[in-house]
């Protein structure tokens, strides 16, 4: 099992009330940004990622977002390049490079190759479509998002592998002269695809034999997506294994259960990521997804009728209630190493992912607390997880090539997770 570390890199001094009044993090005015604080936070997060490598994580997992304080990483390439040079062992996993909003797959191919070389072949260049609001932030046409993604992906693979120079005239991208002289260290850089259970993305990942990494989604829904992936894999002629799947788990570890519980509340800080007006852009979702959504037409016309966006105490109370529920459903797992390990085991048994990501503390948490969590996880949680991974035979993509397992003789794939979970 491959164990990664991830955080959003929040600009965490942001006043929560301002976020709530904005309806979410995205689009909050940058008047709340302080230059010196921002600089210090960048240094802090780089230090924390490097500490993750030091305490034994297998990878530092990065992402990028724009125009909001929930994620200060605006260029995944810059962060990856810094870590490529400053780290020495752990993989650098990008979840992912937002190909459509970058609008330049040749540049993406070049930069990723450069990072792979600087890291001596430790790059996992995951790719994404970019969330709905990212299309707004970059002025990328949401109705073309899927087309842009597909074309950029196909182009990038060619740019890495096909001897140049050559000419490219596509639908959305055009290059007179393709000859990225610097090519990646890895002959075939391992692509992973993260998602929040959009069926089209799951199918696409399975068709390309790319591991699909679920970003902290609810267990039953995630297991359903595993099944969709498995069915697609069968159609493509292979049997899935744990190496085809990844899962992000929000975890906060401290010296006492009470302290961890309190620190874990950072995961509900600010409430929603996206104000609803940016969540449903034209053409971003497939026609099937729109059809499903259309059945909730009346709810859509009256979004969140029960939550008054100006009722700050009311909003906070609803988040607090949700937080208590999150503990029950293990959406957020908090505690000491001793109390979180059985919960993590339950998660691994339920979903059997070969890639497991500890999504560390978010919100206004002090650096020292994050560093303390690093130590506790490194000393006690990671060794325990490795044992569990071995016991459950959770093979990762570096042990077994995703998509390399043959189907059983009867041509029917064997489900990866207990059927009662998949059916739930």
């Amino acid at each position: 099992m491959h164990i990664g570390y991830f955080v959003e890199q929040q600009y965490n001094p942001v006043p929560e009330e301002a976020v709530l009044l904005n309806g979410g993090f995205f689009g909050l005015s940058n008047k709340y940004f302080d230059r010196k604080t921002g600089a210090a936070l960048y240094h802090r997060y780089i230090k924390e990622f490097l500490e993750a490598e030091r305490v034994g994580y297998d990878s530092m997992i990065l992402n990028e977002h724009h125009a909001n304080p929930a994620c200060m990483s605006n260029s995944i390439m810059i962060e990856a390049a810094i870590l490529a040079y400053a780290s020495h062992r752990a993989k650098i996993v990008l979840l992912g490079t937002p190909l459509p909003i970058m609008k330049n797959p040749l540049r993406a191919a070049e930069e990723l190759a450069q990072i792979d070389l600087i890291s001596n072949g430790r790059l996992v260049p995951g790719i994404i479509r970019g969330a709905a609001w990212e299309q707004v932030a970059s002025n990328t046409n949401p109705a073309l998002n899927r087309e842009l993604f597909d074309e950029a992906h196909d182009f990038m693979l060619q740019a890495w592998s096909r001897p140049g120079p050559w000419r490219y005239e596509g639908k959305h991208f055009h290059y007179r002269f393709v000859n990225p002289f610097v090519r990646p260290m890895q002959e075939k850089p391992p692509i992973w695809v993260p998602g929040v259970i959009s069926p089209e993305t799951v199918i696409w990942a399975a068709e390309h034999r790319y591991p699909y990494v679920a970003l902290g989604t609810e267990v039953a829904a995630t297991a359903k997506m595993w099944k969709l992936y498995g069915d697609t894999a069968q159609r493509m002629g292979y049997q899935v294994g744990p190496e085809n799947f990844g899962y992000f788990q929000k975890v906060v570890v401290a010296d006492t259960d009470e302290e961890a519980y309190e620190l874990g509340k950072g995961h509900i800080f600010g409430g929603s990521f996206t104000p609803t007006r940016f969540a449903s852009l034209p053409g971003y979702n497939s026609k099937d997804a729109v059809k499903n959504y259309a059945n909730k037409f009346y709810e859509f016309l009256r979004p969140r009728a029960t939550l008054d966006p100006t009722d700050i105490p009311g909003l906070r109370q609803s988040f607090a209630d949700n937080y208590a529920k999150h503990q029950e459903t293990m959406h957020v797992i908090t505690g000491t190493p001793k109390t979180v390990i059985p919960k993590l085991r339950a998660r691994l048994e339920a979903l059997r992912p070969g890639i497991f990501t500890i999504w560390g503390p978010e919100g206004p948490i002090p650096h020292e607390k994050t560093m303390r969590m690093m130590k506790l996880v490194g000393d006690e949680v990671l060794p325990a997880l490795r044992e569990i991974g071995k016991e459950l035979d959770l093979t990762d993509p570096f042990q077994v090539e995703p998509g390399s397992r043959p189907l059983p003789a009867n041509g029917q794939w064997n489900p990866l997770v207990p059927t009662q979970v998949a059916a739930a």
Binding site: P142, L144, R277, P282, G283, V290, Y293, A294, F297
Partner: protein, 259 residues
């Protein structure tokens, strides 16, 4: 007997849905960005003396045409539609997005139309302000913003009929097609305004409500300035849908202009 008929015609290999009603000289009507809003009072009144022909923009109710990537592409297709349907003397009336399409058709073929009426037309970049962005909001919110006073607009409830899952999907189709046509630059074409000066022989009426929250007044003033034989009529108190908000005045102005 129904006030209008619907049929599907083939144009340049594509299927186009046509709504037609009334009798008299042909009036091509180009609908707006949320689709064809249904047969309203103004249709009824104009249809007494006019044969109204409304093509449904591809992708709105019918299959989208993958090669149509901007409004000028669509304008070319509608030029073929008029030719194939043997409609050789025609006036045009375009609403909002439809006004932009009409203007693109006119600059592409200056002898295509006898007269051109544009209602709060998109297509040129407002000198001041911005065209309201329809994308980061729901269709229902956009629809509400299009009328200055909902309570004083009895036809508002009839626009697009009852709220339903099917209507929601049609709106999403419309929004998606609009994004394909005009996400960037938003709802305008930088080469249109300079070309409008070439419409030396085309009598044009531009109508706009002074309470329009979607299209800034600067855009219609610039339109009227750019087209040599254009006249601007401002409907006081109306929003982006003067045809539904001030129907009598709208019909009077339009009929006077067309006749």
């Amino acid at each position: 007997m129904s006030e209008f008929t619907e049929r599907v015609v083939k144009v340049n290999g594509a299927e186009l849905a046509l709504i037609e009603g009334g009798s008299g000289p042909a009036l091509l009507v180009l609908h707006e960005e949320l689709g064809h809003p249904g047969w309203l009072n103004w249709h009824r009144q104009i249809a007494k003396h006019r044969r109204i022909i409304i093509p449904i923009h591809p992708g709105f109710q019918t299959e989208r045409l993958s090669w149509v990537r901007n409004v000028r592409d669509l304008a070319c297709l509608y030029g073929f539609l008029l030719r194939d349907q043997k409609i050789d003397t025609v006036d045009v009336l375009g609403f909002s997005l439809g006004g932009w399409i009409a203007a693109e058709m006119a600059v592409g073929n200056p002898s295509l139309f006898r007269r051109m009426a544009l209602v709060a037309p998109f297509g040129i970049k407002p000198g001041e302000g911005y065209i309201m962005d329809m994308f980061p909001m729901s269709s229902a919110e956009y629809l509400k913003a299009s009328v200055a006073n909902i309570a004083a607009t009895p036809e508002f409830e009839h626009l697009y009929g009852e709220g339903s899952a099917q209507q929601f999907e049609l709106w999403e189709d419309a929004r998606t097609e609009c994004a394909r046509l005009a996400w960037e630059p938003y709802m305008h074409n930088p080469s249109l305004e300079p070309l409008l000066g070439g419409l030396t022989g085309l009598p044009t009426l531009i109508m706009w409500g002074d309470k329009d929250a979607i299209l800034p007044g600067s855009a219609v003033h610039d339109y009227a300035k750019a087209i040599p034989r254009a006249r601007l009529h401002v409907l006081k108190g109306a929003g982006h849908r003067p045809e539904a908000e001030k129907t009598d005045e709208f019909v009077r102005e339009l009929e006077e202009f067309l006749n």
